[in-house]
């Protein structure tokens, strides 16, 4: 049986609160990081160059997709992940058990972390092999994306094993 197919089809009916809280916290951190870069992008023409090499990365052709800064896309992504995790936690702790649609929202939130992981892998590749320059905030975002994916995978796998 194809595992990835199973992950998609099988309904989620178990998720530890601690893991979802971790996802919420990490997504909020990722949001803060991306929001910082987005504000920086819209505030000035180009962020002034520092000795860290951020300017090369943040002004490169890879820093925007269809004229939209990738930092903004990142901020929206983290916001949606945080929102998905929060909706689940809020439902769970309001006194009644989480309903199937809450689990459904959480499942799609968890699956969305794969997208974040792939985007981060691409941008890290760009920094290392194409630009040869690093932006600390971008690497920070890569780290939060990987962590989100790891926690999400953990929940999905545990759900498989019951």
């Amino acid at each position: 049986m194809n595992n990835s197919k199973l992950l998609l089809k099988r309904p989620l009916n178990r998720a530890s609160t601690a893991s979802v809280v971790a996802i919420l916290v990490i997504a909020i951190l990722g949001f803060a990081d991306s929001a910082f870069l987005t504000i920086e992008h819209y505030r000035g023409v180009v962020p002034p160059c520092t000795t860290a090499g951020c300017d090369i990365v943040l002004t490169s052709v890879f820093s925007a997709i269809w004229g939209m800064p990738v930092a903004l896309l990142g901020a929206v992504y983290y916001l949606l992940i945080a929102l998905g995790a929060f909706i689940f936690l809020e439902a769970k702790h309001i006194g009644k058990a989480a309903e199937s649609h809450h689990f459904s929202i959480l499942k799609w939130t968890l699956l969305a972390t794969i997208l974040g992981l792939l985007m981060s892998l691409w941008f890290t590749y760009v920094q290392i092999f194409i630009l040869g320059s690093y932006c600390l905030y971008c690497l920070g975002s890569a780290l939060t994306s990987v962590l989100l994916f790891v926690f999400a995978l953990n929940i999905l796998i545990k759900n498989e094993n019951i």
């Binding site: 909020i28 910082f36 000035g44 180009v46 520092t50 090369i56 809020e90 006194g95």
Partner: protein
Amino acid sequence: MNIKRVIFWGCFVVVLGLIVWGLIASMGKGQNTGTAGTPAPVSSADHSRGPVDAPVTMIEYSDLQCPACGAYHPLVEKVLASSTIPIRMIYRHYPLPQHKNAFVAAQASEAAAMQGKFWEMSGLLFTYQDQWSELADPREVFAGYALRIGLNVEKFKSDMDSDIAKNAVTAQRDEAQKIGINKTPTFFLNGKEIESPQGYEQFKAAIEAAAK
């Protein structure tokens, strides 16, 4: 919707709001605190234009390959051209290590300065950064600029790699490092660092404030 849910959602929105507000507030603050020391007094070795006795002396520490410096170039030119307050403009090199052609570009501007055309050359280098930033050896492109602004190209080429040009750039870079410049471009008005202006109006206001 019960009160508990309202509180839950309220907390969520407030946390996110605080993050955004905190970021905006801290960034504004960070810019106001100048980190650099006092620039060395203006000397005859400096690249200077504008009246010597102007009420405002602007010193720019800059890197010819830095994208932000290139983006500031037209703004600086506009301010210099339109200011009702006379400005003496000083340019000092601070080629950053991560910009591989910044140092040799600075040497090219020094070579142009030897024929009295520093500002013309630095202007072209800023404007056409994209043409030479990533080249393995940008010297031929620089020679093309030299031809364009009417320099003796052969003399320009040999001056560009001369010790005089290299030493001039090194001396300015060392001074920038010594006083702790931590970003390019960094502007000083009458010896005081200003926050990077976000546009023409802000630049103009900073110059008016310095002239008082």
